[in-house]
Structure formats: structure tokens, C-alpha cells
């Protein structure tokens, strides 16, 4: 599925439900679902705050299932990331004044099996993540 939303803060929770409802097909555990929702929140929040600097823009979320693995991509067409290596570092934030923790990417990496960042200055940012839903084996 493909979902397009505007970068409004209330759409962060909407994006979470949509992804959760999609994942429900794989009959995950509560923990797996919470992990995925948390990772999606971090990526969508990043698009809203860093990608579009709180202005209105489009965020595209795609989900697919490959066997027992969920694949999610979250894309914006905003500012882009200058230094991806640095952005991935725990505690790094370009907005310390907003009391951001700099842990967004670390959280995504912790809760998902795989996280890839694709970004170009002035073009936007695309995060691809995947996670195997182990419980779907039983």
C-alpha cells in the first residue's frame, strides 16, 4: 500500500495506525507492533520537523510484505540531510534548541532489523526499514 499525508503533527499518529493496521495482517505480537509504530513515529516526525521545518509538505509511506518481513519506506521531499553518517550517530541532532534527543535513527535501528537512509540536499529523504515478524511463523 501507498499512503500520502501532509506533514501535520496529527498525521504522525494517523501514520502509526495505518502501518499498524497493515502489519496486523502478519498477526504480530504487541511488542513487535509497538516496535514498528515507534520506528514509524520517529521517521515521520523527522520529516515534519527536519524535512519540512514544520511547513506543509507531502509525506509518502509505503508498506509491503515479503514472506514474513514487513518493509516500510517513509519519504519526504524536503530539506534533505547534509551528512548521513553524522545524522545516524546516537545523540546527534541539528536542533538541540528543540530538546530533540538525537536518538531518532538509533531508535529506528534498535527496533527494526534494517534501516537505510537515502537523502539529497534540497530533494528530500527516504528511509527504508524492514522487520521480520517472527511470530508469524507459529
Amino acid at each position: 500500500m501507498r499512503l500520502e499525508i501532509l506533514s501535520k503533527s496529527q498525521n504522525e499518529s494517523f501514520a502509526r495506525v495505518v502501518v499498524a493496521a497493515f502489519v496486523a495482517q502478519l498477526d504480530p505480537t504487541l511488542e513487535e507492533l509497538a516496535d514498528i509504530k515507534t520506528a514509524v513515529s520517529e521517521a515521520v516526525t523527522n520529516s515534519i520537523i527536519h524535512g519540512y521545518l514544520e511547513e506543509l509538505g507531502k509525506i509518502v509511506i509505503e508498506c509491503g510484505i515479503m514472506g514474513e518481513t514487513l518493509e516500510v519506506t517513509i519519504e519526504d521531499f524536503g530539506k534533505g540531510i547534509e551528512n548521513i553518517e553524522q545524522a545516524r550517530e546516537p545523540l546527534f541532532t541539528s536542533k538541540p534548541e528543540l530538546e530533540r534527543s538525537g536518538m531518532g535513527f538509533t531508535v529506528m535501528e534498535t527496533f527494526m532489523d534494517y534501516v537505510e537512509i537515502d537523502s539529497q540536499i534540497g530533494r528530500g529523504t527516504k528511509i527504508r526499514m524492514s522487520k521480520e515478524i517472527k511470530s508469524s511463523r507459529d
Binding site: 495506525v17 493496521a21 496486523a24 498477526d27 505480537t29 504487541l30 511488542e31 507492533l33 511470530s135
Partner: protein, 77 residues
């Protein structure tokens, strides 16, 4: 210790479908109680506040419940 571990593990392994079924049952009861109290249908946010369950979880639980009821109908027809 084995018991505790099993308890923890079982807890972590609760399937969403099971927990959603419980949420759906709570939502149904809250809806009836609040309707009586207020003399009108409660809104989603009022049910959410009274149960301390997020609106997102309620929305998903309502759907999970429909599906389970539907499955039940199919199986027991």
C-alpha cells in the same frame, strides 16, 4: 526463575489479535455505560478517556472484532 521467565516471555508474546479482542469487549461495555450516564452516544474521545486506551487502539480493536465476529459466523454457520 523458570516460572518468571516463562511469565515474562508469555507476556511479551501476547498476540495483537488476542489483546484487541479484549479491548473491543471493553469498548463495547464502556459505550453502553456512558450512553446510559450521558443520555446520548459517547464519542470516540470520551470512550478513550474513560478507558484510558488510545483512540488508535480503539479504532483497530473495533475492526479486529468485526473480523473475529465474521470468522465466528463463517465457522459456526
Amino acid at each position: 526463575i523458570g516460572e518468571i521467565k516463562r511469565f515474562l516471555r508469555d507476556d511479551g508474546m501476547i498476540k495483537v489479535s488476542r489483546s484487541m479482542k479484549q479491548t473491543a469487549a471493553k469498548v463495547k461495555m464502556a459505550k453502553e455505560n456512558l450512553s446510559k450516564e450521558m443520555g446520548r452516544e459517547p464519542t470516540l474521545s470520551e470512550i478513550s478517556a474513560s478507558l484510558d486506551i488510545s483512540q488508535e487502539d480503539i479504532v483497530i480493536a473495533l475492526e479486529a472484532n468485526v473480523q473475529l465476529e465474521y470468522l465466528y459466523d463463517v465457522i459456526h454457520k
